[in-house]
């Protein structure tokens, strides 16, 4: 028996506990609402409908592509922001995380002006290479990457700033080039942040709606992701929309819960970052 007053952990202060409970309820109740209104008897029928499966497949494929691109471009950017002291760094950081705060629909319109058929760069993509992003699956990936990558960048940059850089020094003195050090020492040291940032970015991409429908449009099979299908489903068939949202929630929830236990779990990794 552990006597809490003497040997154990301090008890949770009552106000903290109550407020935490309120916060939990705040998140749990809307989900409960969806579950409550879900047409369970018809759920299977909605889920296995071709439209739903097509949208689900497209959502998964696009969000994974967006996450992959975020890693390839976002991790180096985070490294530069964390490690290279250059004038205007603050401006660059703000610029690269702006898409987190601007309304996604505005982001979609901005993407038009940049990458659309008449856009700053898009017109040349069209003229020289015949590449048109709007109304294509690639356009969906671009829109999702645009809104999702900042989540990875800020998570990874914070981890890079917190990590003990002397570990990298140690690697250098052992004969490791800066690139070898980056791959074999730096990246493994911030692995929890890479996973957390990746999951956040992926979840954001999976739920992306505004930028996607604005920039890439909505067409089943090419650009209609699950959130778009849900939104348009609300117009005519709210029941189907609820079932589809629950699928989206279930997938994200499973990934978040699963990763948490596996990677963030015991706190050993987190100590590394602390």
């Amino acid at each position: 028996m552990i006597d809490e007053r003497r040997g154990g952990r301090p008890p949770v202060p009552v106000p903290v506990f109550v407020l935490a409970a309120v916060a939990t309820a705040f998140f749990a109740l809307p989900l409960a609402g969806l579950l409550w209104r879900a047409p369970w008897s018809k759920a299977w029928q909605y889920l296995t409908a071709d439209d739903a499966l097509t949208a689900l497949r497209l959502s998964l494929v696009c969000s994974l592509w967006a996450t992959a691109i975020s890693f390839v471009l976002g991790v180096p950017l985070a490294w530069v922001l964390a490690r290279v002291d250059f004038p205007g760094r603050g401006v660059v950081r703000a610029l690269c995380t702006l898409s987190m705060v601007i309304p996604p629909v505005v982001g979609g319109v901005a993407l038009f002006f940049a990458l659309g058929r008449r856009g700053i760069v898009g017109q040349y993509l069209d003229q020289w290479f015949g590449i048109r992003l709007p109304f294509t699956t690639a356009g969906v990936v671009v829109a999702q990457t645009f809104v999702a990558m900042p989540f990875l960048i800020i998570t990874v940059e914070a981890a890079l700033r917190q990590m003990d850089r002397r570990v990298e020094d140690a690697a250098r003195t052992l004969g490791a080039s800066s690139w070898y050090t980056f791959r074999r020492v730096t990246l493994p040291a911030i692995r929890p942040a890479l996973i957390a940032g990746g999951v956040l970015a992926w979840a954001r991409a999976l739920g992306e709606f505004g930028a996607t429908i604005t920039f890439a449009g909505n067409f089943p099979g090419t650009t209609q992701t699950l959130p778009l299908a849900v939104y348009l489903g609300l117009e005519t068939n709210p029941e189907e929309a609820i079932v589809l949202s629950l699928v989206l929630i279930a997938i994200s929830f499973a990934v978040l819960v699963g990763l948490r236990d596996r990677w963030f779990g015991t706190g050993n990794r987190a100590e590394l970052l602390a």
């Binding site: 003990d164 002397r166 570990v167 020094d169 140690a170 690697a171 250098r172 003195t173 052992l174 004969g175 490791a176 080039s177 800066s178 070898y180 074999r184 020492v185 493994p188 040291a189 692995r191 050993n268 590394l272």
Partner: protein, 351 residues
């Protein structure tokens, strides 16, 4: 075959200008207080911080020389480092840690692992090869860090406060261990420490770094016999007075006069041992051969049978007297005292 360095680095308020030479097979301890520039010097030697003036050469090869724009990056220097907190790679096993340097130099994986295993056997940790660094004790982690640094076969080994991270209970045992392992490395070794006990136990020669300058160097016995800095004097526990000798009297900058037995004129240091001082409340009568200074007691530390008394005055001193004498005089901080010393008890040597 040696390490020759003339390190000039300016960082913040630190202006480091240090000349260091380490012969093949020699272990030099760089001893000094915190902030003296020891770690900066070590980082400069390792190539983790470019120098602003001077040069760094190992076996004649230039590693860093701003005048010729030469800078060999750390990964290409024949220098291994054992860092203060050992800085093992937490995501790798102990074996992978030791094999890291070889792998980074594109040694095939199997060869690197075999070599790493041999090193672990040498430091007596072969049984922990597959453990994570987290599972190691401080002393074990230090041995892994040593094996990791030596596995790449460097010419120079740098050790940054290798015992500072350990608790007092294990430090002595680990120090003995380290001494044994360091003896098996034939190259040049440089140990950075603030603890003279480390220097005494491990080093052939000591260089004292204070305020960015090497103030003294030689064997530890030489250095402590004739302190040339406040830091070394404090380590040894003596009063160090610097000034200028003129006709058998040493005059300090603040204007105090110390009568000495005999010494040539010119700048000099005087060592006054605390137990050679006597304290009185009144002016001691007669005794013309004695030095007598006035001062005010600032603090009193009782140490077993004796007490150390700090005195502030024209000549700040620490005196060591018996508890009996202390009680007889009923001294308290703030009291005015007279401090007396025989000229023959004062050791003087040229600065």
């Amino acid at each position: 075959m040696s390490l020759e360095a003339s390190i000039g680095v300016q960082v913040g308020t630190l202006d480091l200008r240090a000349e260091l030479t380490v012969a093949d097979g020699e272990l030099l301890a760089l001893l000094g207080p915190n902030g003296a520039g020891k770690s900066t010097a070590l980082r400069a030697l390792a190539g983790l911080r470019p120098i602003h003036q001077g040069h760094i050469r190992v076996d004649g090869a230039v590693l860093d020389d701003p005048t010729t724009n030469t800078f060999v990056p750390p990964e290409q220097r024949p220098i291994g480092v054992v860092f203060q907190d050992y800085l093992l790679f937490e995501h790798m096993t102990v074996l992978e840690n030791v094999a890291f340097g070889l792998r980074a130099r594109t040694t095939p994986k199997a060869d690197a692992r075999r070599c790493a295993h041999e090193w672990l056997e040498r430091v007596g940790l072969a049984s922990m090869a597959q453990d994570r660094p987290r599972a190691l004790s401080g002393g074990q982690a230090q041995r892994v860090a040593l094996a990791r640094a030596l596995a790449t076969d460097p010419r120079v080994l740098l050790l940054d406060e290798p015992l500072a991270a350990l608790d007092a209970g294990t430090r002595a045992a680990v120090r003995r261990d380290l001494r044994q392992h360091l003896a098996s490395f034939a190259g040049m070794r440089l140990l950075v420490t603030h603890d003279p006990v480390d220097a005494y136990a491990l080093a052939d020669r000591v260089a004292v770094l204070e305020g960015g300058r090497i103030v003294q160097s030689g064997t530890l016995a030489e250095v402590t016999a004739h302190p040339r800095s406040r830091y070394v004097a404090d380590l040894v526990g003596v009063n160090l007075v610097s000034g200028s000798v003129e006709g058998g009297v040493l005059h300090t900058e603040r204007g105090a006069a110390v009568v000495i037995a005999d010494a040539p004129n010119g700048p000099a240091f005087a060592v006054i041992r605390p137990h050679s001082l006597t304290l009185t409340r009144e002016t001691p009568a007669g005794a013309s051969s004695r030095n007598v200074w006035e001062g005010i007691i600032t603090d009193i530390d009782r140490l077993g049978e004796r007490a150390r008394v700090g005195i502030e005055g024209l000549l700040p001193l620490t005196a060591e007297i018996t508890l009996a004498a202390l009680d007889a005089l009923a001294l308290r901080p703030g009291d005015e005292v007279h401090v007396a010393a025989k000229a023959t008890d004062i050791e003087v040597y040229p600065a």
